[in-house]
Symmetry: C2
Subunit: 156 residues, 2 copies
């Protein structure tokens, strides 16, 4: 499936008259190889630099913009002051939300499709045509809940 993404990328580059460079391939590969990790730009930069030490941070920024424009990735924001990116899945399975632990910062994903009907409602009632959504739940992961109850014991 990763090869499909790469092919798609190369094709879209050609269509727009853009060039298929090593750096662009490397950035896309880094994201594909780390699915589910929600890498920040700097993290992607570090990964790519391991194999291509000469790449510049600006190139990574520019490539991410390009990949976003081509709908291959999208930005996710976890309020930590930096942009993170996620590979776009094929339409059928793109419905997942993020659980952000406000204590340890861990991110978990949940699959769900309750949102579809909600989006229909929104179109009917508000005339607003939904093309994308961002859903995040903040709270405590099970790990932190455990730790917290332990701490209560230790305090005595």
């Amino acid at each position: 499936m990763e090869k499909k993404i790469v092919k798609n990328f190369e094709e879209k580059l050609r269509n727009k008259g853009y060039r298929n460079t090593e750096q662009r391939q490397a950035v896309l590969s880094a994201i594909i190889d780390n699915q589910g990790r929600h890498l920040s730009t700097e993290e992607i930069y570090d990964i790519v630099k391991a194999n291509s030490p000469d790449i510049g941070l600006a190139t990574v920024y520019r490539t991410l913009l390009l990949l976003e424009e081509m709908n291959l990735i999208h930005k996710v924001d976890f309020n930590d002051g930096r942009s993170r990116y996620e590979l776009n899945k094929s339409n059928e399975e793109h419905l997942h939300h993020h659980l952000v632990c406000t204590q340890c910062g861990s991110i978990h994903e949940v699959k769900d499709d309750l949102l579809e009907q909600l989006e229909k409602q929104i179109h009917e009632k508000n005339g607003f045509l939904v093309t994308n959504h961002s859903v995040k739940f903040y709270g405590l992961c099970s790990e932190c809940q455990k730790n917290n109850s332990q701490k209560t014991y230790q305090k005595t």
Copy 2:
């Protein structure tokens, strides 16, 4: 109802040994007086400066952090590169989502409570305790949809 918020604020300040200053009152008032406008820090600064020209931008930033810590406001992010803030409503009615138009940037609000059951499911299945959520729908507002179909005609 605004007075309730202000009382609440003053009480929380005292509880924590913080001080009730003119600047803090002014920032909170600006937010209360502009509910639904999703003001950015700079916009709040400009509003407050109209009556208190000597206030510093840093004070506004610090006060917003304080108000957030006290759970009186929360941050909303519309991907425009700046933080915006919204007053926290009482628990019963805090469920509304944002419709962000990707063309004109307008923000509409939708009331909804479909999320409650979803949050229960999440707790049961994932052991994650949801305390807050952020839900945004991106797409085209009715206005822009209209304009777009007009443009199609004009192109001929």
